[in-house]
């Protein structure tokens, strides 16, 4: 009998939604057959069978949320086995040679409390945790039945827990219920938090709270850029490729990061990581949230290549078919709300990236040339910087380089 385990679709995945089963009890499956669909915080993925055999049991029904990675989800009878009733969990082997027959199953290893579950902790442990700023939800208790005792607090490191489950990390914001804050029950509809919403809540709360960030604004005249775009698209028409302003922005960002590599960086406790490639994460709004597919090594790509790839990534993002490696691990983010008419805004940093560029709408605005008023198409952008990595001067140098490429796109050829 082989257990099929909940797969980890990405290195950081802790749990997921078992969205759909493609098999039922009695089905024969072969390695590589799609057996289920799993929804993570960002994407829906198909799970393939690794072993061959007959499905004897579905342990987790479709639609179950919060299925822990590596927990058994179904059981397969592999070759050479005869079917037998569901076995009780096998008793663990005695831990010591002098233990011939423990009369009862040992107590299960304590695990951190699940989000929202009651946390068992001694009164003193609770008080010490409050005094030290230790989050009980992030601790494993070593007392009876996994109860958190004073010694566990003494051993814990104070401050915001890194390994806390999402809901626990967000907990300090939810001390008061809506009712307590004066909103009448029944006066609203409650949309349950899905994985993506929880991830957005957790990551952006952490980032906005923990990363010292500041914005830099600059206005760009883009008439020449628009002109170049028209000519480029004319040339690419035969290949049915259309380059967007956003594609040009990606290209210019990549080129500017080559000029100012200090802006393509991440803070780590060991030092500042200077990334070798401009892996540009581009925010794409999708139903129920947003996702940032990544254009890898954008500095080496032609505009046509960028346009084709972005179109594909954005489409697959909207249908939640991105693979984890396609949306994890960017080095610089771009968020463009220009097409929605937003003139200027400042995004929240996407950790561990050192910068995120917020792109506003290109619009005709009066500009001063010499002492004359003139009209130009102007686009405002804001660079949010992680001050631990990118100081004001570095951010300004990056924006100057970026402005040069955008306002005189021919230089992108240099």
């Amino acid at each position: 009998m082989t257990d099929i385990l909940m797969p980890a679709l990405s290195p950081t995945m802790e749990e997921g939604v078992l969205a759909k089963w493609s098999i039922k009890v009695g089905d024969k499956v072969a390695a590589g057959d799609v057996i289920a669909e799993i929804e993570t915080d960002k994407a829906t993925m198909e799970v393939e069978a690794v072993d061959e055999g007959v499905v004897t049991e579905i342990l987790v029904p479709a639609g179950t949320e919060g299925v822990k990675v590596n927990s058994p989800i179904a059981r397969l009878q592999t070759d050479g086995e005869t079917a037998r009733p569901v076995a009780a969990p096998t008793a663990p082997a005695p831990a010591s040679p002098a233990s011939p027959a423990p009369s009862a199953a040992p107590v299960a290893a304590p695990k951190p409390a699940a989000a929202g579950a009651r946390i068992f902790a001694s009164p003193l442990a609770r008080r010490l945790a409050a005094q030290k700023g230790v989050d009980l939800a992030a601790l494993k208790g070593t007392g009876p039945h996994g109860r958190i005792i004073a010694a566990d607090i003494a051993a814990a490191t104070p401050g915001p827990p890194r390994a806390a489950p999402p809901a626990a990390a967000a907990a300090p914001r939810q001390i008061l219920s809506l009712e307590q804050m004066g909103i009448a029950p029944g006066s609203y509809d409650l949309v349950p938090l899905d994985g993506m919403r929880r991830t957005i809540a957790r990551r952006l709360t952490d980032s906005f709270r923990d990363v010292p960030h500041f914005p830099l604004n600059i206005d760009l005249e883009i008439d020449r850029l628009l002109d170049a775009r028209t000519r480029i698209n004319g040339a690419l028409e035969a290949r049915k490729i259309k380059v967007s302003v956003n594609d040009l922005v990606i290209k210019a960002v990549a080129a500017a990061l080559k000029v100012v590599p200090e802006a393509n960086a991440s803070f780590t406790p060991e030092g500042i990581a200077l990334h070798h490639h401009a892996d540009i994460a581009v925010a794409v709004a999708i139903d129920g949230g947003l996702i940032t597919p990544i254009l890898r090594a954008a500095e080496d790509r032609s505009l046509a290549d960028i346009a084709v790839r972005m179109k594909d990534l954005a489409e697959r993002a909207r249908t939640r078919k991105l693979k984890p490696e396609e949306y994890q691990g960017g080095t610089f983010s771009i968020s463009n709300l220009g097409m929605m008419g937003i003139r200027s805004f400042a995004s929240i940093l996407n950790e561990p990236q050192g910068c995120i560029l917020s792109v506003g709408a290109g619009e005709k605005r009066p500009v001063v040339r010499g002492d004359q008023l003139a009209v130009a198409t102007v686009m405002s952008v804001t660079l949010t910087c992680d001050h631990r990595v990118v100081d004001g001067a570095i951010g300004a140098r990056f924006l100057a380089a970026f402005k040069g490429f955008i306002e005189d796109p021919v230089t992108l050829l240099a």
Binding site: A95, A101, P102, S122, L124, R127, Q131, G143, A151
Partner: protein, 468 residues
Amino acid sequence: MAVDFDLIVIGSGPGGYVAAIRASQLGLKTAIVERENLGGVCLNWGCIPTKALLKSGEVFEKLFHLGDYGLSAEKPAFDFAKVVERSRGVAKQLNGGVGFLMKKHKIEVIEGVARLEKGAPAPKVIIDIKAGGSRTVQATAVIVATGARAKTIPALGLVGDGDRVWTYRDAMTAKAMPKSLLVIGSGAIGIEFASFYRALGAEVTVIEAMDRILPVEDEEVSAAALKALQKRGLKFRVGAKVTGLAKSGTAVSLTLEAGGKSETLTAERAIVAVGIEANIEGLGLEALGVKIDRGHVVTDTHGGTAVAGLYAIGDVAGPPWLAHKASHEGIHCVEHIAGRDPVKLASPIPGCTYAQPQVASVGLTEQAARAEGRKVKIGRFPFRVNGKAIASGETEGFVKVLFDADTGALVGAHLIGEGVTEMIQGFVIAMTLEATEAELMATVFAHPTLSEAMHEATLDAYGMVLHI
């Protein structure tokens, strides 16, 4: 060599026999070796028979205060032989009870004297069988639970002779009631015998080398105990060094030195209660390479010794020399041997003295807290304003509690008075569960009880006492 048992326990005191029962519960094939009485000192020669004696003394003494309760009786009297006989009967009953428990749990009882020799996976156990012959058994694990005995100081003549100079054992099986008695040592054992013999009318003087009686207790409790015992007619010499002991056919004389002055005390008998010595001899421990420090087997947190497969628990593994400490260690050790992960929860070890008045304590004394540099909040509540105590005519004593000033953790409790040896358990549970003042304050205490003083003392520590 094939293994005969999973576990052999040497010694059947409260450490050993409890360990054996737990081992049997966990499915270990277990044998226990006992050289004398099942149950060890505790229930044959210690905790239990002394409680029987003390009860006789307590009841007798009460007879002289019947008037306080509106009662009277004519000529209270006692039959000393019957008092001792009752005590021996109680011991015998419990000794039989341990035999029954061993049978019930299918633990083989081997009567004889054990010694250890090198073996694997644990040392071999060679037993000189009481009934004759010798037997060698091999187990996967061996627990040494051989306990301790009364300490003697031969250089000063402080050695029991079964006649003029008694150890605890002679003192609880005396043939006749002594008219006068010198008790050397004011720990729990010394004070209990002093209290018992005083209750039956003996002239008792207690000699203590330290500057106060019950020296392990909180200073306030020591002082209150001294006062209460003096009121009962006991005499004390504290800070007194014994320099010599002389015996005659009818008396025993003790020379003391206190404050630079020398003094000689004479009485019919003397009891030596100067401490405890672990039973480490004759087992072959040294030859095996077991580490011994200041007369005790050195063990790790699970009772493990330096020798593979060999464990030690209870008195033989060091202080405090208390039956409940031995049982607790025995269970922990066996669970570890059986591959269990013993519960990680450090219960503090309470201590009780069953004199009149009783003394009970757990955790840090005020002096120890101060020495640690710990800031504490201290609360006290006297029984003299407790309703139940007043109704019972038992108003002596108080409850004293210590809380950590920063965390509110209950860190110590010190009680003296009627019934406190039962009340202390409330504080032990609270400390084991890591209670703070908040839980103790929020707990409902039944009325009217002596235990209400526990609540009030807690409230007092935070300036919220109700009935003072």
